[in-house]
Symmetry: C2
Subunit: 195 residues, 2 copies
DNA sequence: GTCTATAGAAGGATAGAC
DNA sequence: GTCTATCCTTCTATAGAC
């Protein structure tokens, strides 16, 4: 049986990072919400906040990818799957008062110019998302290079929408993003069907 | 003659916010880099960090809008202007080691769930960008509703690209973003030409 | 309007008992 | 592995001399 304390710390930190960012989240805040003693944090993460941060970034990135993959794979086709993902993102934003958006975007921007290990962790997460989406589009018949560019575009649109929605406390930008994203997917699939 | 100390504080803060974010920038760091005494900060900004932050957000937002407007207006047409803006963004990213991206994105995500006054300031900046771009597309013949959706999409793509580029320390995502953005503009203009 | 000193809280990190 | 106490630094903010 794996130690639950470590998992609680990871879960709580992921939640706090998503809402308040890396520098905005204190270690004391983390152990308080995780009902864990302060010493346990440094026992499980001897590297301190950086080590904990890196593990949370990777973990959150993988969990979010699995969430999106589940939505996309549940749909009858890729186009519908992408549309569902954007619709779902809008619903979650409204339900959480615009707190639950991308789990690593805030942290990624914060650490980009301040911590190489953490920047690399965020870069690996985004690259894994790009690769996963690329495979989905390749599976739908899109040529590999076009599929990667499409995957990058979809993620860019989603991330940009998260930013505008959180700032405006409105889902208008996510609805627009869904239209733009599906249009891009449709165009790529049409380009393939022409062969 | 306006007081130069206040302007120096504003300029330095804008630069630090862009790179390190809101919580990642300390007031002591600001006065040190601005060569200003600590007391001057609270003399010019009695509301402390929040008041300074709000003013910097609005100021940075307006300056960045003017920068983009200059690039777009210098081009022969809107399509070329948008393409130039994305190309220019990629150049700046490379030249500044991926530090100079969107001046308010990091701050916007940090404050979205922590400070209503600052969130509103970022929301107003994004809305002003959307309106400015909307007018440009309306001027190019795009129907107003479609123009607003196009403007939102362009900003989303740019912001998503900034995020991916800073994380990866690569301009691949910005190049892809430029293609996607110009394709969207081209499609909107084509829709108009059909009338 | 400029500048110094300092308060008071919160930050990350460590030591050592259990 | 758990938990407490504590160190040192940094943070925002204020007071008050000049």
């Amino acid at each position: 049986m794996p130690t639950p304390t470590k998992d609680r710390i990871l879960d709580v930190t992921a939640e706090l990072f998503r809402r308040y960012g890396y520098t905005g989240t204190g270690l004391k805040q983390i152990v308080a919400e995780a009902n864990a003693p302060f010493g346990s944090l440094y026992h499980h993460f001897p590297g301190g906040k950086q080590e904990l941060g890196a593990e949370v970034i990777r973990r959150s990135g993988q969990m979010y990818f699995e969430l999106i993959a589940t939505i996309v794979l549940a749909a009858p086709d890729v186009l519908t799957g992408i549309a569902d993902a954007f619709t779902g993102a809008a619903v979650v934003l409204r339900e959480t008062d615009y707190a639950d958006a991308c789990p690593i975007a805030t942290v990624a921007l914060e650490v980009a110019s301040t911590s190489e290990p953490l920047r690399e962790a965020t870069a690996q997460v985004f690259e894994s998302w790009i690769r996963g989406l690329t495979e989905a589009f390749v599976g739908a018949g899109v040529e590999r290079d076009a599929a990667r560019r499409l995957a990058i575009s979809i993620i860019e649109i989603l991330e940009g929408a998260f930013l505008l929605c959180r700032a405006a406390k409105s889902t208008e930008a996510m609805e627009v993003a869904g239209e733009t994203a599906t249009a891009a997917v449709r165009a790529a699939l049409a380009g393939t069907a022409r062969d």
